[in-house]
Every structure is written in C-alpha cells, then in structure tokens.
C-alpha cells in the first residue's frame, strides 16, 4: 500500500527485534472473542486514478460554479484569491498539529496572532480567540460564556438570528438548564426592541442578535445594547456574513461578538469545514473558550508567540473548563487570515461595497414583479422577496435556466408565507439578476389562467 513505507524485509527485521514471530502476536491483548474473523466489508484498495474518477462523477452530479447562485443564509459565495490555497497547502502549515511546542511552531502561532488581531480590528472587540467550529457553535458558546460572566441562567434571542444557530443554542441550553426566550421582529426586519425590553429580566445573562441578521437587515446594535446593559445583561452579536464588516459599522457596543469566518476565503463545501470565532472585551478573557495565542519573549529576549491562558481549557481544567473544545478550525482560520491580508484595509471596503451594490440593484429589479420585505431598515447583501407562488416552484423553473434561487423561508418563518431569502455577492452577474427578476415577475402559465 503506497502510504506505508515498509518493505516485507523491514517488517521481518522489526518482528525479530521485538522477539515475536508474527504481527498477530502483537494483537494478542485483544481477547480472541472480539477479534474480527473476517475481512471488513469494504472494497479492496483503489488506484488513485479510480478514486479521482469516482469523485469527478460525484462532482458532476452536484451543481456548483456552472450555476448562478442566489443562496446565502449563513454560507456565502465569494471569490477565493488563488494565493490562499497556495499558502495553506504548504506542508508545514497543513500537516502540523496544535502548536504545543512553540519553538517549532512559530509559523502557526504567528499566523493565529495575526488572525486574532485582524478579527479585533474588524469587529471592534479587544481580544479574539483562535477559532471555534463555526458561527452556530460560536454563537452558542458566546451565550454560555455570558452565563458564566454574569452568573445568570437565561438568555433572550431574536428570531431574526439564523434559525439553525438558534437550534444549536437550544440543544446546548437544554442541558445546562438555561431558559431561552425568543423575541419577534418588526416589519422593518429588525428585532422588536420594545419586546426585548419586556423579555429581559434579572436572570438574563445576555441578549443575542445577529447583524446583518438572517434577513440581511442591519440591526440597531446600540439601541439593543442600551436595553441589555441597563438590566445588567450582556449583548452578544452574531455575525454570519463577515464581508459586511468591510462597510457596516462593527458591533462595538457588544460585549461578545460571535462570527462565522466562512466568507473570508473558505469554500462553501456543502456546509463545512467553516470557522467560527469569539471576540470580546479584555475584561472577559478568562471566561472565553477556545485557544488563545499570546506574545512573549524567549531567553534571548526575542519576540515569540505561545498558546496562553490555558487554565481555561479542557486539558488543564477538565470538567471545570470554559468549554470542551480541543481541535478547532486552525487551517480555516489561516485561509481567512490570507484572505483578509489580500484584500486588506481598502479591498475589504471595496468588496463590501460591491456586495451592497449588487444586492441593492437586485432588490430594485425584483421589486418590480414581487414584494421586497423589510425595506424600513438598511440591509447588506441579502433581502427577502415575497411571491404569489410557492418559491419552490419558482426555484424549479430557475433551475432549468441554471439558476439556484433564494432560500424558501416557509419552514422557519411560516408567517411570511411565500417568502424567500436572496443573496447577491460580488460574483453575482447582472445578467443572472435580470434573468431571476424576470422569472420572479412572470406568472407561471397555470396561475395566469
């Protein structure tokens, strides 16, 4: 087998050195009744060319770049600069593990330190960790963190937060005895601030909103922060579309930002791997989950980087740890670091502006033939369209034109009827927008009767 660097002669030599006659003797500690007496019911080893053939077939059976894609809803289709894969594929980044031995891991450690810095700059927070699994678990762990900081055991969450983020929170909260109260959104698309006010009690650890929210609407972060803080609760702001930070004011008033970094150069990859990150104020750092890289000096006074504040983590504190997280999403965070570096200060702004322009144009075009909801507040690169027909039927027609239409919302927001969520990024072509808007405006033959 080509991954195994031993010849039969090598194996023989080693068995002799150990003092056994066959490798089976080394498996004697497994009692005979548990040892598998047959081969695994799997195909025999495959040639590399055959593996690639099999995967090319699967790839051809899955729509991707050949389609115009109007889906967002927590996973965004942005251009990935080619240097990202060039750099992260270097074996020393790619095949290294967690930098527990800093003297031979300075590459990884410095890259994480840069990531932490850039996330702080973009989110307006003071400290950021090295990554969480994704936006949904980052948001969930942020709520758990707020509970530890305040000593309180419930949370108020806007319904305009991504439905799947809320589902993950519900799974975790249930087992921690945390009560989650959900708050409605207004016709503007924003969370109902008056309802937030009513829902927050002395047992509320935090209020969580998402901005831009699931509908693409930018929340009034300052107003919600004021409400939460007045009652002694923290404000957690989840960010699913990181590119928005190029042009939308960061949630400075928040106590904790929980971000999904997928938009920063991470492939859509049918839902993962992505990378979450938690950023917060310095005063809360000891309650933060996840790895942290800190700067220090070596014996000669040279600058270097190490994993630090490890007493928060599972390998030291075990059941008293801030989280059970160990392996996180380091290579994905590195992709994001390269992306943020390529675009940089001017590019992230220009990129965000293009997204804003594409979505604004699309909303206007769609508005000619259907109702665009939530127009009472600013939005970034997503908007909600309400059609007379079921969006699934519309999307079926669009598939025929190699267009993947917006995400139908009935499953998560039945009160919105035939609504769907549409996303435009810098990759969305004007021709696709016009074709989709035309299809939205056209009544299908059966309905037109």
């Amino acid at each position: 087998m080509r991954y195994l660097p031993k010849s039969p002669a090598d194996r023989e030599q080693m068995l002799r050195a150990i003092g056994v006659r066959s490798v089976d003797e080394l498996f004697a500690p497994i009692p005979a009744e548990y040892r598998l007496k047959r081969e695994l019911d799997l195909a025999p080893s495959m040639a590399e060319a055959d593996i690639m053939d099999w995967y090319r077939q699967r790839a051809s059976e899955t729509a991707a770049s050949g389609y115009a894609n109007f889906l967002g809803a927590g996973a965004y289709h942005h251009y990935r600069p080619v240097v990202i894969d060039t750099l992260i594929s270097r074996g020393e980044f790619f095949t290294a593990y967690t930098p527990y031995q800093p003297e031979i891991s300075q590459g990884t450690l410095q890259a994480i330190f840069e990531f932490q810095t850039m996330i702080c700059e973009l989110t307006g927070m003071e400290v950021a960790n090295a990554s969480m699994y994704d936006g949904s678990t980052a948001a969930t762990e942020a709520v758990m963190m707020a509970s530890r900081v305040t000593g309180r055991h419930s949370a108020v969450v806007a319904r305009s937060v991504h439905p799947e983020y809320r589902e993950v929170l519900a799974t975790y909260a249930k087992n921690q005895g945390m009560r989650i109260a959900e708050v409605a959104f207004l016709d503007s698309g924003r969370v109902n601030a008056a309802a937030v006010e009513k829902a927050v009690t002395e047992d509320t650890a935090c209020v969580m909103i998402q901005s831009p929210n699931f509908f693409g609407t930018i929340e009034d972060v300052a107003a919600i922060a004021e409400i939460a803080h007045r009652k002694g609760a923290l404000l957690v702001v989840a960010i699913a579309e990181a590119v928005s930070l190029g042009i939308v004011k960061p949630p400075q008033e928040a106590d904790i930002a929980a971000m999904e970094a997928q938009s920063f150069g991470v492939p859509l990859s049918f839902g993962g791997p992505y990378a979450g990150v938690i950023a917060t104020k310095e005063k809360f750092v000891r309650q933060m989950p996840g790895r942290l890289v800190g700067q220090t000096v070596d014996k000669q006074g040279r600058r270097g980087f190490v994993l630090t504040l490890s007493t928060r983590e599972q390998h030291i504190r075990r059941e008293k740890a801030t989280s059970n997280i160990c392996t996180n999403q380091a290579l994905i965070a590195l992709m994001a670091t390269v992306f943020m570096t390529v675009y940089g200060r001017e590019g992230l702004k220009e990129l965000a502006q293009q997204n804003l322009a594409k979505a604004a144009y699309a909303a206007e075009e769609f508005g000619r033939g259907a109702k665009v909801l939530f127009s009472g507040a600013p939005r970034f690169n997503e908007f909600v369209v309400q059609t007379s027909e079921d969006p699934k039927l519309l999307n079926d027609r669009l598939l025929g034109q190699r267009i993947i239409g917006g995400f139908p919302l009935k499953k998560f927001y039945p009160e919105l009827g035939n609504a769907s969520l549409w996303c435009c990024t810098e990759l969305t072509r004007r021709t696709a927008i016009e074709a989709a808007a035309k299809a939205v405006a056209e009544l299908p033959a059966e309905v037109a009767r």
């Binding site: 080394l26 598998l36 593996i51 074996g91 220090t296 059941e319 992230l348």
Partner: protein, 504 residues
Amino acid sequence: MNSKIKKARTHVTQNEGLIFEKSSPGKKGYKLPELDVPDVNVSKLLGNAERKDLGNMPEVSEIEIIRHFTRMSTWNYGVDTGLYPLGSCTMKYNPRVNEIAARLDGIANAHPYQPEKVSQGALLILQVLRKALMEICGMEAITLQPAAGAHGELTGILLARAYLESKGNARKKILIPDSAHGTNPATAAIAGYSVENLKSNARGMVDIPSLEAQMNEDVAALMVTNPNTLGVFEQEIHKVAEIVHRKGGLVYMDGANMNALVGKARPGDFGVDVMHLNLHKTFSTPHGGGGPGSGPVACKKILEPFLPIPVVVTKSDGSLGFDYDRPQSIGRVRAFYGNFGMHVRALAYIMANGRDGLLQTTEDAVLNANYLRKKLEGVFDLPYSTPSMHEVVFSDHKQTAKGIKTGDIAKRLIDYGFHPYTVSFPLIVHGALMIEPTESESLEELDLFVDAMKAIADECEHTPETVLNAPHTARISRLDEVRAARQPILRWKPQAQGVGKNGD
C-alpha cells in the same frame, strides 16, 4: 557540533515580522472586477450604520503576502517533515489525492442549501462514508455532523441522555477513568452531568472492583477510551460493558485510538453502545495546525431515533435526501451537515486503502509502536508492563534523578530534528512521555528516533545542562510562558510593544 545528531542540521531561515509591520498605505494585494451594476451611495443606503475606516487592517502587495506566509511556514515542523510522535493524535500521512478530490468544483463549491436534486453527488458521498464507518465500528447508525472529537463526545453523551430520558430517568453522573483525555470530563459537564473519577488498576486498565462499586442507577454512562491513553487494550472490556449495562447504563467509547483497531476489532462487537471517531486522526484528514477535524458519532440502533437532524436517507423515488422529520432527535449540534470537506478526504483515504490496506495500516501502526517500546525500554522507565498497542508511554523517572523532566527531553528532541512526543499526559503517569509513531514511519525514521532518544538519555546522565537548556538550534529558545499568561498580549497594536521588529 554534536555528531550524535544525525537527522538534522542548522540552516539559514528567513526572519519575518508581523504583517502589520509591513503594511503601508497605498500598497494593494487585490484587484476587483468592474461593477456591472450601478454603484451605490453608501451613506444614503446605510446611514449611521456605515463604516468609514478599517483601521489597522494591513495593506501589502501579493509578493509580500507570499513571502510572509512562506517564510513563516518554514519555521514549522509537520508530518511532511518527519516523525511527529504525539500520543493519541495519530499524526499519519495526509494523502494529497484527498486534497484534489475535495477541491473539485461540484464538491468545493456546493452550497449546503441548494436543492437536493442537484446535490445527489454530495449526498452519495455522505451515504457511502456513513456505511463504511459503521462497518469499521460495528455500529448500526451514525451521524457525521460533529465538527471534532470533543463535539462528537458531546453529541454521543446527549444521545445517551435522550435515550435514558425516554426510559424515564436521564440520571446524574458519568464515570470517567483517571487516564482519560481532558475533553471527556469537560464534555460531561457541558452535557449537564457530574463527573465521577474511576481509578485505573496496577496494569493501567479500568479497575473492575472500583467499577462494580461505583456503577449504580445514578450513572448514565461510562466514558472509556480503548485502547486507553496508555496504549493498552482494555482486556476486560466485555466485563466492563456488562457491569454498566446490568445497571441500565451505556458505554461510550472515545475513538481517538481507533488506529489500533481498524480491521482487527470493532467496538460495536465488544459492548460499546456509542462512540466517536476522529477523522483527523485515524482517517488521515490533515491536522492543519489545530483543525479542522471531524468527529462522527456511531451508535447502536437503540440510539438511532435521537440522532441529530438531519439524517441522510434514501427517498421513495430512490434519490438521496435529508430527513428532518425526527421527533425524538436531540436537535442540531451545529448548522448545516458537518465538516463535509473532511468527509470527502476521509472517504478517499478509505478507498485508497480498501479493506486490505486498512488492515495492513493497523498492523504497521502497532508494529511501529512495539518496535519503539522494545528499543527504548531500559533506556526510559516503563511504568506499566502491560503490552502496548499503537502507542507506548514511558516516564522520566530515570532522568529526574539528574533533575531532568519529560518536558526537557522533549525540547532536546527538537535539536535532534524531531517534533516532540506528548509531554505529561496521561495524568496517571508522572512525567509521561507518550509516543505514537503511526504506520507512516519507515524503519529508517524509527531508528533515527531511537538513536536520538538514546543519545539524549546519555546526555541526561553526562551533560544534563545541554538538555535543560534545549533547544539550542531552533529559531527561538524556550519562551517565557509565565509572562505570556501574567501579562497577556493577545493582539498587535500600533504602538511599540517593547520588542524588536522582524522577530529579532
């Protein structure tokens, strides 16, 4: 120059400062295409939600970016460089065909919410992987949703909780051996259980009398690693399972050490009810400096109704899809379906090996660990005489007489051209050296490692300061970790932070 160091030699490496130190206004690393729609008046659209300035985000050119990260990468050591013997991490070869498969357009660029009818390829990948992993584990159901091992542990314990709740009592405690990885008790706490410690016996295995005494109807589950963190197979695992099951509890297995079992024994056959796998360990997906991982959870049929949603199913028309209609599900543990990119890689690994290659892999992994054990016993103290499977744990007991600890020996290994083993874990061995070579090591590399360890043991005897002050030839010497924790500097700031530029 130490003539005993055979594997490595010093070389000129590039210095490189922080990217912010190379930044200068007006430098660009990008060019966006022209807008094909009308531009917008941002202030008009966003009002006071507009952000004007991106502060200290860097401005550098493309070549500077390439040099920046390339130089930094040369300061690292990876599996591609050589033996990386971290215990229970299974630092095996990361096959490159996995990477090419994962980057195919229909795989890398598929949106998780795109219609099922145009996602059949992705769904088939999930289905084939599920079946292969269930076969390998001897299990009847599986979820690919968890993002890493710890995430899988939480999912598995939540499955156990849901099952017990359906029987009327979720119970209160989880039993965890004192040799367990820290994620195990941390997970139990997050799942809302209290943790009760279970002693290991003199052979380093679960102490059966202790288990008998501690197992009762308040215990929801036992979390066991098999082989355990000493690399030792729990020879009485069937008795362990029987004791737990007799009182209505479940057996959870931490699958981190599956590299010793694939093709040889299946946890489902020896009494395990639910377990997680680490695709980034046993199944070759890259460690990436600390992730991404993937932690599928496989289980017996009794736990299937509780699996996270959605579940991959074959629909009545024969096509594949996701089933969300599962009223007993524990819910979601993350958005979307899991680390699909890692599923692709793990399946490619399974295909490349096939049933024959997987078996040979397991045999080589155990052969390599036993070879190291044989060559190094007598040089280092072996706290447990119990046979080792795929990893071996020594202690620094012989060397502490000269004031040298496992951490010092590890640092000296760096000068010899190796990445260290796992230091000071498992906790039941004082001064542990936890060594897992994996099957990816040639006899030559193993012999170089043996020679290096013997040379260092010799230095511990005769020139201990060499070991105590190691490493000597890395770019950086031992870092002040106490200072890092006491005066945390967790980000770069524009004003000088008291040290030289360019990493000097």
